[in-house]
């Protein structure tokens, strides 16, 4: 494959350009939204295609960051993401570990887990149980009902099972019981996989939107995605609450720039951690799902 024919070269270039266009279609919206979020109303209204503002103003950000509604919902989301991910990891790894050790009942438990992938009760009975367990209007309604994603559980178990048995035997000879083995041997060995699943679960919590509407009646508890939906999708510029900040600003930002700044601020955490975790999550998807 050292020499290339003309058609080969043509193929490679076309392919590379098409891929670049596709990637650009995914990055362009962010570039545009970024630019507009820093623009003055005047420039926004009078420019054809705005990709780099002449005059940078941060009014939209000042306004959002001065909004108690925004800060509270961000705080809620951070809390939800951290607490939720810890719960997910605890429930998933403990159950996956005991299922990986082939105890009595493993088969029936595994079947019970797999069955939930095929059939689920649906929204209303689940809602009634969340209600019956007293979680309505509590942030735990967004955490406990999704404590384990069955698919993730299966993959983590698969990973645990691939850890060589000699390690267990050595640990048992050293007098370790299963709790010690789990905590001191298995979890440290599984760090990369756990990082991947922590990311998946965390992104899930960060993006929680519908469960917020479903289970939380009190707007003060709403996570950021619910607020974002009001501001961007429903175009409700009052969703950020009091206009005290607006009054303080010399040139109040137009709703457009506020929407775009809000989108960027709510996406920022994901955009920030994403490059560092990319290697892990690809591994996470593949563990267990590809068997040779």
């Amino acid at each position: 494959m050292k020499y290339k024919t003309a058609s080969d070269r043509w193929f490679d270039w076309t392919n590379a350009i098409l891929l670049a266009l596709l990637a650009a279609s995914m990055l362009f919206p962010f570039l545009y939204i970024f630019a507009v979020s820093f623009t003055t109303l005047d420039e926004f209204l009078h420019s054809e295609l705005l990709l780099w503002p002449k005059k940078w103003v941060a009014d939209a950000y000042l306004y959002i960051l001065g909004s108690p509604t925004f800060l509270r919902s961000m705080g809620m989301t951070v809390y939800l993401t951290v607490a939720g991910t810890l719960v997910n990891l605890f429930f998933t790894t403990t159950f996956a570990f005991s299922l990986s050790r082939r105890i009595y009942g493993t088969r029936i438990l595994l079947f019970a887990v797999l069955f939930t992938l095929l059939f689920s009760a649906g929204m209303v009975p689940t809602y009634l149980i969340v209600q019956a367990t007293g979680l309505i209007d509590s942030i735990w309604a967004l955490i406990l009902p999704v404590a384990i994603a069955p698919f993730n559980l299966i993959i983590v178990r698969q990973f645990f099972m691939n850890i060589p048995g000699e390690l267990y035997e050595a640990a048992i000879v050293d007098g370790a019981n299963d709790l010690v083995i789990f905590w001191k041997l298995i979890l440290p060995l599984s760090k990369p996989v756990l990082a991947a699943f922590a990311l998946f679960y965390a992104v899930g919590h960060w993006n929680t939107y519908f469960a917020g509407i479903l289970y939380l009646n009190d707007p003060r508890m709403w996570p950021i995605q619910v607020i974002l939906r009001q501001i961007v999708v429903q175009n409700d510029s009052k969703a950020f609450g009091s206009s005290d900040v607006m009054a303080m600003l010399e040139n109040p930002p137009p709703p457009e720039t506020v929407q775009m700044a809000a989108i960027l601020l709510a996406t920022l955490p994901i955009l920030l951690v994403y490059p560092f975790l990319q290697k892990h999550f690809v591994k996470g998807v593949m563990v267990g799902s590809v068997k040779g």
Binding site: P29, V232, I270
Partner: protein, 318 residues
């Protein structure tokens, strides 16, 4: 008495088994301890709700509870099958699903094949990093971005008006744009992510096969057609089966966000319908019946598709 004395094993065997179980149980006690949170989770939030679907056969009232609400048999299911509203919702669901299978299912396969042909490892990784990203954004953000671009004063309409001199197009309220937009959004968000498993399968193809095909005079297209595609055939089949099992799931949050009073007629799908009937209008029993109907059809479809795959000589998923 005599019998047991004559054959002591008869009475002792079960005792031995049970003591062995007891021994194993006590030896694995910590493993059972670790399993408790998981078991409780599945019991409380997955299986008890399944039992809760019995209210589909009742006229459930929260004040009366499960035990005292009157039983009505198949009443709600008969309503499902006779209400034109439900037929419309079912049709909307299937239509969207069909479009997704036709357009959004093959797209990652094509993209994976394209990525697989990239010779520069660096360029490939660069593109991958970008195309995976939208998967991690929430539907609120994806729909929000589309709205920002497509609304009356948005960039696209601005372009149409100023550059092409057209009238502005009402993408977001015009019925005929609803389905294409849904598909476009699914493609934008998930096409890159969908390539991961196909790329893994492509990486597993024996390079000798490519060399042999080159020796046989195959160009790039022929290599793709005769080596790459057959190499990921089983992955395609398995993922298609999983997708077929979900034809009644049209992406609840996504559709819910895209829904407005203009497009309700074609945007109402089974999931959103269950939400409106069950949660908004508190018609718990009817909504549960619709949900159960959906769940059972989904179950039958996965099992059926899996059997079909096995008949075609593929591995199937279980």
């Amino acid at each position: 008495m005599n019998q047991t004395a004559a054959d002591p094993n008869v009475s002792r065997a079960p005792a031995k088994v049970s003591s062995r179980i007891a021994m194993k149980l006590s030896r694995d006690k910590y493993l059972y301890l670790l399993a408790i949170p998981g078991i409780l989770y599945f019991l409380v939030y997955r299986y008890i709700p399944m039992l809760g679907t019995v209210i589909a056969f009742q006229d459930y009232s929260p004040f009366l509870g499960f035990s005292d609400s009157p039983w009505v048999g198949w009443k709600h299911f008969r309503t499902i099958l006779s209400a034109p509203e439900v037929i419309q919702v079912l049709w909307n669901t299937l239509y969207l699903s069909f479009l997704q299978i036709v357009f959004a299912f093959p797209a990652p396969i094509v993209l994976a094949l394209m990525l697989n042909e990239v010779r520069s490892e660096l360029y490939k990784r660069l593109i991958q990093t970008v195309v995976y990203l939208p998967h991690f954004l929430s539907w609120v953000i994806v729909v929000g971005i589309f709205i920002i671009f497509l609304r009356g004063e948005g960039l696209i309409n601005h372009f149409l008006e100023v550059v092409l001199g057209w009238q502005p197009v009402d993408f977001l309220t015009n019925l005929s744009f609803f389905r294409p937009l849904i598909i476009l959004q699914v493609l934008w968000k998930e096409v890159g992510w969908g390539t991961i498993l196909f790329l893994a399968a492509l990486a597993g193809i024996n390079p000798d096969l490519y060399e042999a095909s080159i020796v046989d005079g195959a160009g790039r297209w022929r290599q793709i057609w005769h080596v790459s595609l057959p190499g990921i055939r089983s992955t395609i089949v398995i993922l298609l089966i999983l997708r077929l099992g979900n034809v009644l799931d049209s992406g609840f949050e996504h559709i819910f966000l895209m829904q407005n009073s203009f497009n309700k007629e074609i945007s109402n799908v089974l999931d959103t319908y269950v939400y409106y009937m069950g949660i908004e209008q508190s018609d718990f029993s009817f909504a549960t019946a619709v949900g159960l109907f959906k769940g059972l059809i989904g179950l039958v479809l996965v099992l059926g598709a899996n059997r079909l795959a096995k008949r075609f000589g593929e591995e199937g998923i279980y």
